[in-house]
Protein backbone atom coordinates (compact mmCIF):
# COMPACT_ATOMS: atom_id res chain seq x y z
CA UNK A 1 0.00 0.00 0.00
CA UNK A 2 1.81 3.08 -1.30
CA UNK A 3 1.29 6.42 0.45
CA UNK A 4 0.21 7.83 -2.92
CA UNK A 5 -2.54 5.23 -3.42
CA UNK A 6 -6.31 5.67 -2.90
CA UNK A 7 -6.15 2.71 -0.50
CA UNK A 8 -3.78 4.59 1.78
CA UNK A 9 -5.92 7.73 1.74
CA UNK A 10 -8.95 5.57 2.63
CA UNK A 11 -6.92 3.94 5.43
CA UNK A 12 -5.97 7.39 6.80
CA UNK A 13 -9.61 8.50 6.62
CA UNK A 14 -10.79 5.43 8.54
CA UNK A 15 -8.06 5.71 11.18
CA UNK A 16 -8.77 9.43 11.61
CA UNK A 17 -12.53 8.91 11.95
CA UNK A 18 -12.09 6.40 14.78
CA UNK A 19 -9.27 8.49 16.34
CA UNK A 20 -11.54 11.55 16.49
CA UNK A 21 -14.44 9.60 18.01
CA UNK A 22 -12.39 7.91 20.75
CA UNK A 23 -11.82 9.42 24.22
CA UNK A 24 -8.39 10.97 24.66
CA UNK A 25 -6.89 8.17 26.78
CA UNK A 26 -7.51 5.59 24.04
CA UNK A 27 -6.25 7.59 21.08
CA UNK A 28 -2.58 6.71 21.23
CA UNK A 29 -3.42 3.03 21.72
CA UNK A 30 -5.59 3.23 18.61
CA UNK A 31 -2.79 4.90 16.63
CA UNK A 32 -0.40 2.15 17.74
CA UNK A 33 -2.85 -0.57 16.67
CA UNK A 34 -3.38 1.20 13.33
CA UNK A 35 0.40 1.51 12.84
CA UNK A 36 0.93 -2.20 13.44
CA UNK A 37 -1.99 -3.01 11.13
CA UNK A 38 -0.45 -0.75 8.47
CA UNK A 39 2.89 -2.52 8.87
CA UNK A 40 1.15 -5.86 8.47
CA UNK A 41 -0.43 -4.58 5.24
CA UNK A 42 2.72 -3.14 3.63
CA UNK A 43 5.23 -5.77 4.71
CA UNK A 44 5.26 -9.42 5.56
CA UNK A 45 3.08 -10.03 8.67
CA UNK A 46 6.01 -11.80 10.38
CA UNK A 47 7.73 -8.40 10.42
CA UNK A 48 5.31 -7.37 13.16
CA UNK A 49 7.09 -9.82 15.45
CA UNK A 50 10.45 -8.32 14.49
CA UNK A 51 9.14 -4.81 15.13
CA UNK A 52 7.71 -5.92 18.48
CA UNK A 53 11.04 -7.54 19.45
CA UNK A 54 13.02 -4.47 18.39
CA UNK A 55 10.67 -2.25 20.38
CA UNK A 56 10.86 -4.46 23.48
CA UNK A 57 14.66 -4.47 23.39
CA UNK A 58 14.75 -0.68 22.94
CA UNK A 59 12.38 -0.24 25.88
CA UNK A 60 14.22 -2.59 28.27
CA UNK A 61 17.63 -1.38 27.01
CA UNK A 62 16.57 2.22 27.60
CA UNK A 63 15.44 1.43 31.16
CA UNK A 64 18.73 -0.34 31.92
CA UNK A 65 20.82 2.45 30.31
CA UNK A 66 19.04 5.21 32.24
CA UNK A 67 21.11 7.49 34.57
CA UNK A 68 19.84 5.90 37.82
CA UNK A 69 21.64 2.60 37.01
CA UNK A 70 25.30 1.91 37.70
CA UNK A 71 27.79 2.98 34.98
CA UNK A 72 28.72 -0.64 34.20
CA UNK A 73 25.07 -1.71 33.83
CA UNK A 74 24.31 1.30 31.66
CA UNK A 75 27.24 0.69 29.35
CA UNK A 76 26.50 -3.03 28.99
CA UNK A 77 22.76 -2.47 28.43
CA UNK A 78 23.42 0.21 25.84
CA UNK A 79 25.83 -1.87 23.77
CA UNK A 80 23.80 -5.09 24.00
CA UNK A 81 20.59 -3.33 22.95
CA UNK A 82 22.26 -1.42 20.09
CA UNK A 83 23.94 -4.64 18.90
CA UNK A 84 20.55 -6.40 18.91
CA UNK A 85 18.93 -3.63 16.85
CA UNK A 86 21.79 -3.63 14.35
CA UNK A 87 21.62 -7.42 14.17
CA UNK A 88 17.97 -7.12 13.07
CA UNK A 89 19.02 -4.70 10.34
CA UNK A 90 21.93 -6.86 9.23
CA UNK A 91 20.02 -10.12 9.18
CA UNK A 92 17.12 -8.70 7.17
CA UNK A 93 19.10 -6.45 4.87
CA UNK A 94 22.55 -7.87 4.30
CA UNK A 95 22.36 -11.60 5.02
CA UNK A 96 19.87 -12.26 2.16
CA UNK A 97 22.11 -10.31 -0.22
CA UNK A 98 25.13 -12.25 1.03
CA UNK A 99 23.29 -15.48 0.28
CA UNK A 100 22.66 -14.26 -3.26
CA UNK A 101 18.95 -13.63 -2.74
CA UNK A 102 17.10 -10.49 -3.75
CA UNK A 103 17.44 -8.29 -0.68
CA UNK A 104 14.59 -6.02 -1.79
CA UNK A 105 12.17 -8.97 -1.67
CA UNK A 106 13.34 -10.53 1.56
CA UNK A 107 14.39 -7.41 3.40
CA UNK A 108 11.82 -5.80 5.56
CA UNK A 109 10.06 -2.64 4.53
CA UNK A 110 10.77 0.13 7.00
CA UNK A 111 13.29 -1.80 9.12
CA UNK A 112 16.14 0.52 8.06
CA UNK A 113 14.15 3.44 9.40
CA UNK A 114 12.77 2.21 12.73
CA UNK A 115 16.06 0.51 13.65
CA UNK A 116 17.89 3.85 13.28
CA UNK A 117 15.26 5.47 15.49
CA UNK A 118 15.69 2.74 18.11
CA UNK A 119 19.46 3.29 18.07
CA UNK A 120 18.91 7.06 18.40
CA UNK A 121 16.61 6.49 21.39
CA UNK A 122 19.10 4.20 23.15
CA UNK A 123 22.00 6.58 22.45
CA UNK A 124 20.13 9.66 23.63
CA UNK A 125 19.06 7.94 26.86
CA UNK A 126 22.59 6.65 27.46
CA UNK A 127 24.13 10.07 26.75
CA UNK A 128 21.42 11.71 28.89
CA UNK A 129 20.24 13.84 25.99
CA UNK A 130 16.69 12.48 26.28
CA UNK A 131 14.86 10.96 29.26
CA UNK A 132 14.02 7.26 29.38
CA UNK A 133 10.45 6.65 28.15
CA UNK A 134 8.40 5.12 31.01
CA UNK A 135 5.50 3.84 28.85
CA UNK A 136 6.21 0.97 26.44
CA UNK A 137 3.20 1.80 24.25
CA UNK A 138 4.43 5.37 23.75
CA UNK A 139 7.90 4.16 22.77
CA UNK A 140 6.28 1.61 20.43
CA UNK A 141 4.27 4.38 18.77
CA UNK A 142 7.40 6.53 18.53
CA UNK A 143 9.07 3.78 16.50
CA UNK A 144 6.04 2.57 14.53
CA UNK A 145 3.89 5.68 13.88
CA UNK A 146 2.55 4.70 10.47
CA UNK A 147 3.02 7.89 8.38
CA UNK A 148 6.81 7.67 8.88
CA UNK A 149 7.19 3.91 9.35
CA UNK A 150 8.11 2.95 5.80
CA UNK A 151 10.36 5.79 4.72
CA UNK A 152 10.98 8.21 7.55
CA UNK A 153 11.61 10.99 8.43
CA UNK A 154 13.90 9.48 11.06
CA UNK A 155 12.60 11.03 14.27
CA UNK A 156 14.56 11.80 17.42
CA UNK A 157 13.15 10.94 20.84
CA UNK A 158 13.53 14.53 22.01
CA UNK A 159 11.34 15.78 19.16
CA UNK A 160 8.64 13.12 18.88
CA UNK A 161 8.14 11.54 22.31
CA UNK A 162 6.96 14.78 24.01
CA UNK A 163 4.36 15.18 21.24
CA UNK A 164 3.03 11.68 21.89
CA UNK A 165 2.50 12.55 25.56
CA UNK A 166 0.45 15.65 24.77
CA UNK A 167 -3.34 15.15 24.57
CA UNK A 168 -4.71 15.65 21.07
CA UNK A 169 -6.77 18.75 20.44
CA UNK A 170 -8.30 19.50 17.07
CA UNK A 171 -6.34 22.24 15.31
CA UNK A 172 -8.12 23.80 12.34
CA UNK A 173 -5.00 25.54 11.00
CA UNK A 174 -2.95 22.35 11.40
CA UNK A 175 -5.60 20.37 9.50
CA UNK A 176 -5.52 22.87 6.62
CA UNK A 177 -1.71 22.70 6.55
CA UNK A 178 -1.84 18.94 6.54
CA UNK A 179 -4.21 18.82 3.56
CA UNK A 180 -2.02 21.22 1.56
CA UNK A 181 1.08 19.13 2.39
CA UNK A 182 -0.67 15.91 1.30
CA UNK A 183 -1.83 17.61 -1.92
CA UNK A 184 1.67 18.87 -2.71
CA UNK A 185 3.14 15.49 -1.91
CA UNK A 186 0.77 13.73 -4.30
CA UNK A 187 1.50 16.30 -7.02
CA UNK A 188 5.26 15.82 -6.67
CA UNK A 189 5.01 12.04 -6.72
CA UNK A 190 2.26 11.38 -9.27
CA UNK A 191 2.85 14.23 -11.71
CA UNK A 192 6.63 14.79 -11.58
CA UNK A 193 8.48 11.76 -10.17
CA UNK A 194 6.35 9.15 -11.94
CA UNK A 195 6.52 11.13 -15.20
CA UNK A 196 10.33 11.38 -14.99
CA UNK A 197 10.66 7.61 -14.41
CA UNK A 198 10.32 6.50 -18.09
CA UNK A 199 12.85 9.16 -19.21
CA UNK A 200 15.30 7.69 -16.70
CA UNK A 201 14.51 4.05 -17.39
CA UNK A 202 14.92 4.47 -21.15
CA UNK A 203 18.64 5.13 -20.68
CA UNK A 204 19.59 3.55 -17.34
CA UNK A 205 17.94 0.22 -18.19
CA UNK A 206 19.62 0.03 -21.61
CA UNK A 207 22.98 1.76 -21.10
CA UNK A 208 24.80 0.16 -24.03
CA UNK A 209 22.48 1.72 -26.63
CA UNK A 210 22.82 5.37 -25.64
CA UNK A 211 25.50 8.02 -25.54
CA UNK A 212 26.38 11.69 -25.05
CA UNK A 213 23.59 14.14 -24.27
CA UNK A 214 21.06 11.31 -23.89
CA UNK A 215 22.88 10.16 -20.77
CA UNK A 216 23.20 13.72 -19.49
CA UNK A 217 19.46 14.34 -19.92
CA UNK A 218 18.61 11.02 -18.23
CA UNK A 219 20.83 11.90 -15.27
CA UNK A 220 19.07 15.27 -14.93
CA UNK A 221 15.73 13.44 -15.15
CA UNK A 222 16.84 11.08 -12.38
CA UNK A 223 17.94 14.01 -10.21
CA UNK A 224 14.37 15.34 -10.59
CA UNK A 225 12.72 11.95 -10.11
CA UNK A 226 14.48 11.10 -6.86
CA UNK A 227 14.04 14.47 -5.19
CA UNK A 228 10.34 14.81 -6.07
CA UNK A 229 9.67 11.16 -5.26
CA UNK A 230 11.23 11.38 -1.81
CA UNK A 231 10.14 14.92 -1.02
CA UNK A 232 6.61 14.02 -2.23
CA UNK A 233 6.54 11.05 0.13
CA UNK A 234 7.80 13.20 3.01
CA UNK A 235 5.15 15.86 2.44
CA UNK A 236 2.41 13.20 2.46
CA UNK A 237 3.87 11.66 5.63
CA UNK A 238 4.17 15.04 7.36
CA UNK A 239 0.67 16.00 6.25
CA UNK A 240 -0.88 12.77 7.56
CA UNK A 241 1.03 13.03 10.85
CA UNK A 242 -0.19 16.62 11.26
CA UNK A 243 -3.80 15.38 11.10
CA UNK A 244 -3.09 13.46 14.31
CA UNK A 245 -1.46 16.48 15.95
CA UNK A 246 2.11 15.32 15.33
CA UNK A 247 4.72 17.49 13.59
CA UNK A 248 7.41 15.41 11.88
CA UNK A 249 10.78 16.97 11.07
CA UNK A 250 11.38 18.62 7.73
CA UNK A 251 13.42 16.30 5.52
CA UNK A 252 14.12 18.50 2.47
CA UNK A 253 15.01 22.13 1.89
CA UNK A 254 15.61 22.77 -1.84
CA UNK A 255 18.71 20.52 -1.93
CA UNK A 256 19.73 21.40 -5.48
CA UNK A 257 20.22 25.05 -4.47
CA UNK A 258 23.11 23.99 -2.20
CA UNK A 259 26.40 25.77 -2.81
CA UNK A 260 28.52 22.84 -1.58
CA UNK A 261 28.16 19.11 -1.06
CA UNK A 262 28.17 19.61 2.71
CA UNK A 263 25.31 22.09 2.32
CA UNK A 264 23.52 19.57 0.07
CA UNK A 265 23.59 17.12 2.99
CA UNK A 266 22.06 19.78 5.24
CA UNK A 267 19.19 20.09 2.75
CA UNK A 268 18.73 16.48 1.49
CA UNK A 269 17.19 13.69 3.63
CA UNK A 270 17.93 15.95 6.57
CA UNK A 271 16.79 13.52 9.28
CA UNK A 272 19.15 10.80 7.98
CA UNK A 273 22.05 13.24 7.56
CA UNK A 274 21.62 14.40 11.16
CA UNK A 275 21.46 10.80 12.37
CA UNK A 276 24.74 10.04 10.58
CA UNK A 277 26.27 13.25 11.88
CA UNK A 278 25.39 12.60 15.52
CA UNK A 279 25.78 8.83 15.80
CA UNK A 280 28.56 8.02 13.29
CA UNK A 281 30.51 11.09 12.22
CA UNK A 282 30.88 12.97 15.52
CA UNK A 283 32.01 9.99 17.65
CA UNK A 284 34.45 8.97 14.92
CA UNK A 285 35.74 12.50 14.42
CA UNK A 286 36.21 12.81 18.19
CA UNK A 287 38.24 9.59 18.35
CA UNK A 288 40.41 10.84 15.46
CA UNK A 289 40.71 14.42 16.74
CA UNK A 290 44.46 14.16 17.18
CA UNK A 291 44.78 14.08 13.38
CA UNK A 292 42.84 17.38 13.11
CA UNK A 293 41.75 18.03 9.48
CA UNK A 294 42.97 14.64 8.27
CA UNK A 295 40.94 12.96 11.05
CA UNK A 296 37.84 14.89 9.94
CA UNK A 297 38.42 13.82 6.32
CA UNK A 298 38.79 10.15 7.34
CA UNK A 299 35.67 10.36 9.53
CA UNK A 300 33.73 11.87 6.61
CA UNK A 301 34.81 9.15 4.22
CA UNK A 302 33.90 6.42 6.72
CA UNK A 303 30.52 8.05 7.47
CA UNK A 304 29.54 8.17 3.82
CA UNK A 305 30.60 4.58 3.29
CA UNK A 306 28.20 3.69 6.12
CA UNK A 307 25.56 5.83 4.40
CA UNK A 308 26.11 3.98 1.11
CA UNK A 309 25.95 0.57 2.81
CA UNK A 310 22.74 1.58 4.64
CA UNK A 311 21.05 2.06 1.26
CA UNK A 312 21.73 -1.53 0.30
CA UNK A 313 24.18 -4.37 -0.07
CA UNK A 314 25.40 -3.39 -3.54
CA UNK A 315 28.63 -1.95 -4.90
CA UNK A 316 26.66 0.83 -6.61
CA UNK A 317 25.65 2.22 -3.19
CA UNK A 318 29.17 1.81 -1.83
CA UNK A 319 30.52 3.76 -4.84
CA UNK A 320 27.85 6.44 -4.33
CA UNK A 321 28.77 6.78 -0.65
CA UNK A 322 32.50 6.75 -1.42
CA UNK A 323 32.03 9.54 -3.98
CA UNK A 324 30.17 11.75 -1.50
CA UNK A 325 32.72 10.94 1.19
CA UNK A 326 35.53 11.87 -1.19
CA UNK A 327 33.81 15.15 -2.17
CA UNK A 328 33.44 16.10 1.48
CA UNK A 329 36.92 15.00 2.52
CA UNK A 330 38.50 16.95 -0.38
CA UNK A 331 36.40 20.01 0.44
CA UNK A 332 37.70 19.98 4.03
CA UNK A 333 41.31 19.47 2.94
CA UNK A 334 41.18 22.09 0.16
CA UNK A 335 39.02 24.69 1.93
CA UNK A 336 41.90 27.14 2.62
CA UNK A 337 43.15 26.91 -1.00
CA UNK A 338 39.64 27.42 -2.36
CA UNK A 339 39.10 30.45 -0.12
CA UNK A 340 42.39 32.03 -1.21
CA UNK A 341 41.57 31.42 -4.90
CA UNK A 342 38.15 33.12 -4.68
CA UNK A 343 39.74 36.00 -2.75
CA UNK A 344 42.43 36.41 -5.40
CA UNK A 345 39.75 36.52 -8.10
CA UNK A 346 37.89 39.11 -5.98
CA UNK A 347 34.74 37.02 -6.29
CA UNK A 348 34.38 35.83 -2.72
CA UNK A 349 30.76 36.24 -1.64
CA UNK A 350 29.67 37.35 -5.11
CA UNK A 351 26.54 36.15 -6.93
CA UNK A 352 28.77 34.68 -9.62
CA UNK A 353 30.57 32.57 -7.02
CA UNK A 354 27.27 31.39 -5.61
CA UNK A 355 25.86 30.50 -9.06
CA UNK A 356 29.06 28.70 -10.01
CA UNK A 357 29.04 26.70 -6.79
CA UNK A 358 25.35 25.76 -7.17
CA UNK A 359 25.96 24.46 -10.71
CA UNK A 360 29.12 22.54 -9.74
CA UNK A 361 27.46 21.04 -6.62
CA UNK A 362 24.42 19.94 -8.65
CA UNK A 363 26.63 18.18 -11.19
CA UNK A 364 28.75 16.50 -8.50
CA UNK A 365 25.56 15.20 -6.88
CA UNK A 366 24.14 14.13 -10.27
CA UNK A 367 27.34 12.28 -11.09
CA UNK A 368 26.98 10.32 -7.84
CA UNK A 369 23.29 9.64 -8.66
CA UNK A 370 24.45 7.73 -11.76
CA UNK A 371 25.98 5.11 -9.44
CA UNK A 372 22.92 5.21 -7.17
CA UNK A 373 20.48 4.52 -10.03
CA UNK A 374 22.50 2.19 -12.27
CA UNK A 375 21.63 -1.49 -11.94
CA UNK A 376 25.27 -2.51 -11.52
CA UNK A 377 28.63 -0.84 -10.99
CA UNK A 378 29.80 -1.86 -14.48
CA UNK A 379 26.68 -0.29 -16.04
CA UNK A 380 27.34 2.95 -14.13
CA UNK A 381 30.89 3.03 -15.46
CA UNK A 382 29.63 2.19 -18.96
CA UNK A 383 27.20 5.13 -18.83
CA UNK A 384 29.95 7.52 -17.71
CA UNK A 385 32.26 6.19 -20.42
CA UNK A 386 29.60 6.63 -23.12
CA UNK A 387 28.88 10.17 -21.92
CA UNK A 388 31.87 11.43 -23.95
CA UNK A 389 30.64 9.81 -27.21
CA UNK A 390 28.65 11.81 -29.81
CA UNK A 391 24.88 11.83 -29.25
CA UNK A 392 23.30 9.35 -31.74
CA UNK A 393 20.36 11.59 -32.76
CA UNK A 394 22.23 14.91 -32.49
CA UNK A 395 21.33 17.73 -30.13
CA UNK A 396 17.63 18.21 -30.86
CA UNK A 397 14.23 17.83 -29.24
CA UNK A 398 14.35 14.12 -30.01
CA UNK A 399 17.32 13.72 -27.67
CA UNK A 400 15.58 15.68 -24.91
CA UNK A 401 12.50 13.46 -25.23
CA UNK A 402 14.48 10.22 -24.87
CA UNK A 403 11.83 8.31 -26.82
CA UNK A 404 8.88 9.82 -24.89
CA UNK A 405 6.19 12.11 -26.34
CA UNK A 406 6.94 15.83 -26.52
CA UNK A 407 3.79 16.44 -24.46
CA UNK A 408 5.26 14.32 -21.63
CA UNK A 409 8.47 16.38 -21.68
CA UNK A 410 6.48 19.63 -21.69
CA UNK A 411 4.37 18.58 -18.70
CA UNK A 412 7.47 17.34 -16.87
CA UNK A 413 9.40 20.58 -17.38
CA UNK A 414 6.34 22.71 -16.57
CA UNK A 415 5.53 20.84 -13.36
CA UNK A 416 9.17 20.89 -12.24
CA UNK A 417 9.16 24.67 -12.81
CA UNK A 418 5.95 25.08 -10.74
CA UNK A 419 7.26 22.91 -7.90
CA UNK A 420 10.62 24.69 -7.94
CA UNK A 421 8.95 28.11 -7.68
CA UNK A 422 7.52 27.00 -4.32
CA UNK A 423 10.25 24.72 -3.09
CA UNK A 424 10.04 25.27 0.63
CA UNK A 425 7.44 24.33 3.18
CA UNK A 426 6.75 27.92 4.21
CA UNK A 427 6.23 28.89 0.57
CA UNK A 428 3.80 26.04 0.09
CA UNK A 429 1.79 26.88 3.17
CA UNK A 430 1.77 30.65 2.53
CA UNK A 431 -1.24 30.04 0.27
CA UNK A 432 -3.32 29.45 3.41
CA UNK A 433 -3.07 33.15 4.29
CA UNK A 434 -4.23 34.38 0.87
CA UNK A 435 -7.75 35.69 0.08
CA UNK A 436 -10.41 33.00 -0.32
CA UNK A 437 -10.78 33.16 -4.15
CA UNK A 438 -7.03 32.75 -4.64
CA UNK A 439 -6.84 30.01 -2.03
CA UNK A 440 -9.69 27.98 -3.45
CA UNK A 441 -8.37 28.54 -6.96
CA UNK A 442 -5.08 27.04 -5.80
CA UNK A 443 -6.75 24.07 -4.11
CA UNK A 444 -8.77 23.39 -7.27
CA UNK A 445 -5.74 23.72 -9.53
CA UNK A 446 -3.70 21.41 -7.30
CA UNK A 447 -6.35 18.68 -7.18
CA UNK A 448 -7.32 19.01 -10.83
CA UNK A 449 -3.68 19.27 -11.94
CA UNK A 450 -2.76 16.13 -10.01
CA UNK A 451 -5.75 14.14 -11.30
CA UNK A 452 -5.45 15.25 -14.93
CA UNK A 453 -1.68 15.41 -15.26
CA UNK A 454 -0.65 12.37 -13.23
CA UNK A 455 1.60 9.99 -15.11
CA UNK A 456 -0.07 6.94 -16.60
CA UNK A 457 2.18 4.52 -14.69
CA UNK A 458 2.82 4.96 -10.99
CA UNK A 459 5.62 3.11 -9.31
CA UNK A 460 6.30 2.62 -5.60
CA UNK A 461 8.33 5.20 -3.74
CA UNK A 462 12.05 4.85 -4.45
CA UNK A 463 13.21 5.18 -0.86
CA UNK A 464 10.77 2.54 0.46
CA UNK A 465 13.19 -0.14 -0.75
CA UNK A 466 15.95 1.14 1.52
Amino acid sequence: MSLASPEFLAFVGAVYAVFSALPGRLRHGWLLAASFAFYGLVGAPCLLLVLAAGTAVAFVGGRMAAPERSPATRRAAFWVAVAFELLILASLKYVPAGLGRDATVLSAVGVSYWVLQAVAYLSDVYLEIAPCEPRPTVLALHLAFFPKLVQGPIERPGALLPQLHRPFTFDYQGTRESLVLIGWGLFQKLVIADRAAPFVGAIFDDPGSHAGAEILVASYAYAAQIVFDFSGYTDIARGVARLFGVTLVQNFDAPYLATSVSEFWRRWHISFSRWLLDYVFKPLQFQLRGLRTLGTAVALLATFLVSGAWHGAAWTFVAWGALHGTYMALAVMLAPVSRRAWRALRLEGSRLQRAFRVVVTFHLVSLAWVFFRARTLSEALLLLDRLRLPTPGGLGLGTLCLGQDLSELTILLGSVAIATLMPRTKGRLAILDRPAPLRWGFYGALVLGTVVLRASDSTGFLYARF
Binding site: L127, E128, K282, F286, G295, L300, V332
Partner: protein, 79 residues
Protein backbone atom coordinates in the same frame (compact mmCIF):
# COMPACT_ATOMS: atom_id res chain seq x y z
CA UNK B 1 40.58 34.84 33.69
CA UNK B 2 37.36 32.80 34.04
CA UNK B 3 36.79 29.56 32.12
CA UNK B 4 34.29 31.34 29.89
CA UNK B 5 36.85 34.05 29.06
CA UNK B 6 39.41 31.34 28.27
CA UNK B 7 36.97 29.64 25.88
CA UNK B 8 36.21 33.01 24.31
CA UNK B 9 39.93 33.55 23.65
CA UNK B 10 40.17 30.10 22.06
CA UNK B 11 37.13 30.70 19.84
CA UNK B 12 38.53 34.08 18.72
CA UNK B 13 41.70 32.34 17.62
CA UNK B 14 40.03 29.32 15.98
CA UNK B 15 37.57 31.45 14.00
CA UNK B 16 39.97 34.34 13.40
CA UNK B 17 37.50 36.82 14.91
CA UNK B 18 39.14 39.12 17.53
CA UNK B 19 35.81 40.85 18.24
CA UNK B 20 33.90 37.67 19.07
CA UNK B 21 31.91 37.89 22.32
CA UNK B 22 30.32 34.83 23.88
CA UNK B 23 28.10 34.02 26.85
CA UNK B 24 27.23 30.74 28.57
CA UNK B 25 24.16 30.52 26.30
CA UNK B 26 26.11 30.91 23.04
CA UNK B 27 25.57 27.97 20.68
CA UNK B 28 27.57 26.92 17.59
CA UNK B 29 25.04 28.51 15.23
CA UNK B 30 25.74 31.91 16.83
CA UNK B 31 29.39 31.83 15.72
CA UNK B 32 30.23 32.28 12.06
CA UNK B 33 32.10 29.19 10.83
CA UNK B 34 31.33 26.96 13.83
CA UNK B 35 29.70 23.93 12.24
CA UNK B 36 29.88 20.17 12.70
CA UNK B 37 33.07 19.95 10.62
CA UNK B 38 34.97 22.66 12.51
CA UNK B 39 33.61 21.62 15.94
CA UNK B 40 36.49 19.22 16.47
CA UNK B 41 38.97 22.09 16.03
CA UNK B 42 37.22 23.92 18.86
CA UNK B 43 37.34 20.82 21.08
CA UNK B 44 41.04 20.22 20.39
CA UNK B 45 41.93 23.90 20.91
CA UNK B 46 39.98 24.09 24.21
CA UNK B 47 41.62 20.85 25.40
CA UNK B 48 45.08 22.26 24.57
CA UNK B 49 44.35 25.64 26.16
CA UNK B 50 43.21 24.16 29.50
CA UNK B 51 45.46 21.07 29.40
CA UNK B 52 42.54 18.63 29.72
CA UNK B 53 40.94 15.77 27.74
CA UNK B 54 37.15 15.61 27.36
CA UNK B 55 35.40 12.25 27.51
CA UNK B 56 33.40 11.30 24.39
CA UNK B 57 30.15 11.72 26.32
CA UNK B 58 31.10 15.27 27.35
CA UNK B 59 32.19 16.29 23.86
CA UNK B 60 29.04 14.85 22.25
CA UNK B 61 26.55 16.44 24.59
CA UNK B 62 27.58 20.11 24.77
CA UNK B 63 24.42 22.11 24.14
CA UNK B 64 26.11 25.49 24.51
CA UNK B 65 29.32 27.17 25.62
CA UNK B 66 28.14 27.03 29.24
CA UNK B 67 28.06 23.20 29.09
CA UNK B 68 31.60 23.24 27.69
CA UNK B 69 32.81 25.56 30.48
CA UNK B 70 31.26 23.30 33.14
CA UNK B 71 32.96 20.25 31.58
CA UNK B 72 36.30 22.13 31.57
CA UNK B 73 35.89 22.99 35.27
CA UNK B 74 34.98 19.38 36.12
CA UNK B 75 38.05 18.06 34.27
CA UNK B 76 40.36 20.57 35.96
CA UNK B 77 39.01 19.73 39.42
CA UNK B 78 39.43 15.99 38.70
CA UNK B 79 43.17 16.41 38.04
Amino acid sequence: MTTLQGIEAVLREVFDDPGLVITAETIANDVDGWDSLSHVNVVVAVEAHFGIRFTPREALTFRNVGDMARAVDARRQAR
